[in-house]
């Protein structure tokens, strides 16, 4: 990192036009993120045409503002109405919504904001100092490593399941089953598509997410007739936010999640959603109060939010230093670079070092911007849940409909969302956790694709999964993670008996 260049970048970004356009991007990002169905990649793509006439630094800072803003914005609707605005915020809904029900929506929003900020800044620092080195880590992951990572991710289901282990695992297996629908990843033949070409790309993820969370929740709430949205007390601005001591108590979790999120973000193809789930799981595992998770724990909000924003900085590593987009959003950003006539990749740091540091400065500004905007608007957002139920519920459903539609401009997806809304309603009624379905649907295809690719590479020998060190370590970690709860129980019993 060159501090002189960074200073120059900051000077550029604080020129009025660049400054305002970055703030605009961040604000739009928060809004896009909060709208279900419009995620970071769509938001960036939607505003991409605006950048045609801009300078590279202004254009990319605005788009990165959208990216980081949307990562935070997704948590707003997740917390307030249990409808994750982006897939990466699915985890935030577990504890965030419980906190909102308890009348602590402001605290949850504030915590999500601050955690997102810390995660974002941490990964940005890592990006600035270590990008070329980390690029090597990114490409060291081949198919066997991705398989091991997917399996590790799936082990999170055991902790999402809570008390109902069998039910949670069953939900997970159901999600994996849904993940087999679509064209075969390796030889392209249709599987379980029942002749519908709408299913060729598999069961779309966002409609399922919106259905299981938003629609199911509204159906359930409408039925119970209980007005849970009106419990937020009228309290002062500062009291809404998390206190210093609360912040201090989750700091360890936030920092851990920042590290994990950055690392997973670096890997092409993994991404923020997986990062947030793994961060949630790790935070629960090492927490002093694991029993609070799922019941409204501030730590449970902070960890995934720090994780998904940290993943944004991580995802910039392969994009900037290798020219390889690791996620949908970075693929669109690659397009934005191309429009500016700059190809990201190893030569970027040689030929356009000013742009690189301009982007870094833009990211610093965007992170600070969403921190301030988020904190200021907490009070406003909390008002959303004071809308009378009879108006709020149809509003959520209408939003869910248009969100599911806009992903692919397809009414089929809206029908899919409705179907999963009904499925989710019954699941919730019968106390089957819905989150494992979502996680398994994301990770299933990744696990299968990388498994089969690895088997092609090894000519059908399973030994490939123990011969490669990273794969072996990840698989051992999975085993450890599966048996950790039993281990801890034994240890605590032992301690108890020793104390007696």
């Amino acid at each position: 990192m060159d501090l002189g260049l960074l200073f120059e970048g900051l000077v550029t970004i604080f020129q009025p036009y660049n400054f305002l356009i970055t703030l605009f991007g961040t604000a739009m990002g928060i809004i896009f993120g909060a709208l279900p169905g419009i995620n970071a990649s769509m938001g960036v793509a939607l505003l991409l045409p605006l950048t045609y006439g801009m300078s590279p630094i202004a254009a990319l800072s605005m788009l990165l503002g959208i990216y980081t803003g949307a990562m935070y914005g997704g948590s707003i609707t997740a917390i307030l109405i249990n409808t994750p605005g982006t897939t990466a915020a699915a985890c935030t809904a577990f504890d965030g919504y419980k906190l909102a029900i308890k009348g602590k929506a402001g605290k949850a929003l504030g915590m999500s904001n601050i955690a997102s900020f810390i995660g974002g800044v941490f990964s940005l620092i890592v990006l600035m100092i270590l990008a070329p080195l980390l690029a090597k880590v990114a490409i060291s992951f081949g198919p066997p490593e991705y398989f091991a990572l997917a399996v590790f991710g799936l082990s999170v289901i055991t902790s999402l399941a809570g008390e109902h282990l069998v039910k949670g695992l069953l939900s997970g297996a159901f999600g994996l089953l849904l993940g087999t629908v679509g064209l075969d990843l390796i030889n392209g033949s249709p599987r379980y598509t029942f002749g519908m070409y709408n299913l060729f790309d598999g069961i779309s993820f966002i409609p399922v997410l919106i259905g299981l969370f938003a629609i199911a929740q509204v159906l359930l709430n409408a039925e119970s007739k209980e007005s849970i949205y009106l419990r937020t007390k009228k309290i002062g601005f500062l009291e809404q936010l998390p206190s210093f001591s609360e912040l201090k108590s989750v700091m360890v979790s936030i920092l851990n999640s920042s590290v994990i999120g950055t690392f997973i973000g670096i890997l092409p193809g993994a991404g923020a959603t997986i990062a947030s789930f793994i961060c949630y799981n790790e935070a629960k595992r090492w927490s002093k109060h694991p029993e609070e998770f799922g019941e409204g724990s501030l730590e449970g909000v902070a960890a995934p939010e720090a994780g998904n924003n940290a993943a944004t900085g991580g995802a910039m590593v392969p994009l900037l230093s290798l020219g390889i987009p690791g996620s949908e959003t970075t693929a669109v950003l690659l397009g934005a670079f191309m429009i500016q006539g700059i190809s990201p990749g190893p030569l970027l740091f040689r030929d356009h070092i000013d742009v690189v540091y301009g982007i870094f400065a833009g990211l610093i500004l965007a992170n600070i911007a969403f921190l301030i905007m988020g904190l200021i608007s907490v009070n406003f957002f909390v008002k959303v849940i004071q809308i009378p139920n009879r108006i709020l519920y149809p509003l959520i459903i209408a939003l869910a409909f248009v969100g599911a539609y806009s992903v692919k401009n397809s009414l089929f997806d809206v029908g899919l969302m409705l179907l999963f809304g009904i499925v989710g309603y019954f699941m919730k009624k019968l106390e089957f956790p819905t989150a494992p379905v979502v996680l398994a649907l994301v990770l299933g295809p990744m696990a299968e694709g990388s498994l089969r690719r690895a088997m092609i590479m090894s000519h059908g020998s399973w030994a490939i999964f123990v011969q490669r060190p990273i794969t072996l370590v990840l698989l051992l970690l999975t085993l450890f993670s599966l048996f950790f709860p039993f281990l801890r129980e034994k240890l605590s019993k032992k301690k108890l008996s020793e104390n007696l």
Binding site: F401, G415, R452
Partner: protein, 151 residues
């Protein structure tokens, strides 16, 4: 507590697993690429066996419990809302997005209203919801929303 719904779910997932498992055999006949490692049917077999085993475990644990079977209370509100949503989806493409949304929101408010009467606030909010969604998604974000006889 043991519920009828849980048992039905267990049988449903069991059936789903069996169907998926049986269908997976025809998938391998499509493995025309050759030399491609595990065939297309391998992973679905793995997953459906997992689902079958877990369904059986759930069912056994349910039947083992010597509790009285209870039925869950389902209200008509949720049922109505689902029907309304289906109507919304179907009519969207016939009437047009904005108009359908307005009608949908208004009807939904009526269903959820305690007094079953509509006041001006409800009509205005239904209008605001449909107008804002239409302007944000169609005009600003240029999403080609379904249009029919009206907008």
């Amino acid at each position: 507590m043991k519920r009828l719904g849980e048992i039905i779910t267990g049988f449903f997932t069991l059936a789903l697993g069996i169907v998926w498992f049986l269908m997976s055999f025809s998938l391998d006949q499509n493995n025309v690429g050759g030399n491609l490692g595990l065939g297309p049917g391998f992973y679905p077999k793995l997953v459906s066996v997992l689902l079958i085993v877990l369904s059986v475990v759930l069912l056994i644990s349910l039947f083992k419990r010597k509790e009285k079977l209870i039925k869950l209370e389902y209200s008509f509100t949720a049922f109505f809302l689902i029907l309304l949503c289906i109507a919304y989806l179907v009519l969207m493409n016939v009437i047009g997005y904005a108009t359908t949304t307005f009608i949908y929101v208004l009807t939904n408010i009526l269903i959820l209203h305690d007094k079953k009467t509509i006041n001006l606030v409800d009509v205005v909010s239904a209008f605001l919801v449909s107008a804002s969604l239409y302007s944000i998604f169609h005009i600003l974000l240029k999403v080609p929303l379904p249009s029919g006889y009206f907008i």
